[in-house]
């Protein structure tokens, strides 16, 4: 049994509380939250503390708070030489206070408050300072997910930038598509199967091989028609730069 204490009460923390309670061979022995009542719907109040001094013994302490608060929280912990990890994609291992053994337990997914997630298919990216701690994190993770990866701080930094492109920027493309549809009284629904198929394609094809469209074909006639169409929107420059960028990849 791997004993876990979770520190935090936000969106990711709440998803973790649920999955850790359900996991086999894992015991969520305690949760630390400044405001106890925010978690009462998830676990018995006896398991929640709001005092650092009451934190009990465990194999892993998972800090799941906002990036800016990780350093302070890890500094406030009263004990030393235990395994303390954070869950942030954009923070280095070194933001954790050196009095404990540091690690990272980063579930790479976009978590929405009201949407259940299937944790077993979420990649968990792990990092630790020594082999034994890494094994502990690996054991823990394998009880939650089928996809566990060793990812260094340097790799995680690149992964976080890549995630901005494939998640945040992609969603912005959806926003623009939706706006064009609304402006022209076309139901956005018409585009949804295309969106899903475009995402599914890259699970079997390399994205470069899956590229289609006027930019790739250098279909200047269509590109110019589209630029003219976009004249009165904010998106003409974006269309130009993205078209150029696709053509740069093609040339490589």
């Amino acid at each position: 049994m791997i004993k876990v204490v979770l520190i935090g009460s936000g969106n990711v923390a709440q998803h973790l509380i649920k999955v850790l309670q359900d996991a086999e061979k894992v015991s969520l022995v305690q949760v630390f939250a400044r405001n106890k009542t925010s978690l009462e719907h998830l676990l018995p109040v006896s398991k929640i503390t709001s005092s650092y001094n009451d934190i009990i013994e465990a194999d892993v302490y998972i800090i799941s708070v906002s990036d800016n608060a990780i350093a302070e929280v890890s500094n406030n912990i009263p004990f030393t030489n235990r395994l303390v990890v954070h869950t942030s994609g954009s923070s280095e291992l070194s933001v954790l206070d050196a009095k404990n053994r540091k690690g990272v337990f980063y579930p790479l997914q976009t978590f929405s408050k009201d949407k259940e997630v299937e944790f077993s298919s979420i990649p968990i990216c792990l990092e630790a300072e020594n082999d034994e701690d890494f094994k502990t994190l690996e054991n823990l993770s394998q009880n939650i997910s089928k996809k566990v990866f060793a990812i260094s701080s340097k790799q995680r930094k690149s992964l976080h930038v890549a995630a901005v492109f494939v998640c945040n920027f992609v969603n912005h493309m959806y926003t623009i598509g939706n706006q064009i549809c609304e402006d022209n009284k076309v139901p956005f629904e018409v585009l949804q199967p295309l969106i899903i198929e475009t995402a599914n394609k890259i699970t079997t094809l390399k994205p470069e091989a899956a590229q289609t469209g006027p930019a790739l074909r250098n279909d200047t006639k269509t590109i110019n028609k589209h630029l003219e169409f976009l004249q009165e929107t904010n998106y003409q420059e974006l269309y130009k730069l993205l078209t150029q960028s696709i053509q740069n990849v093609k040339k490589l």
Copy 2:
């Protein structure tokens, strides 16, 4: 029974041949292809012709050829006053020759040669010059797909621009994500569940409401870290413009 003649032998044409042969209440009576042998794996050679003068009578003639060839093909057809439609998202109704009754039958999906598609969930966008022809196209489409929409030439033009954003440009974001991963020896697999979830999200949430990330939060510290990371790539300017564009939407 709706009798259909299909003209064309390319990628979309071949997908249509398969689905039209399988559809109930639809009879694919003939296919026109300049090179008969290119379709022999799909249907009996007796049903294929390469001579315009041998084209037989049908309720609908579907021209599924490259955009540039639609006008010429519709002009070469020897008969008049029948229902002739094209399958192009970017061509207006008016590119079809006026000697026949014009229409559009546009299945909105990204078709790959080697990947089977589930036609029943593909939106089919229809346009016709008169009600009776529209009904014929609607009948035909409902035998193939559950999603049939009336979309005018003007609406289809906007839809095609929107599709470039949500399909072609999105795929380019995947290409960039993949390249960052490869450059940093991170398996791209780590990002795939995020990609799928990002696409699935917008079937239940408006894309604007689903937006997350440093641009939306105006998290300047992370944005600057990412821009520094991207310095040696071609993608710094794109990151800047996309970040700006997300923040412009937020302000509206």
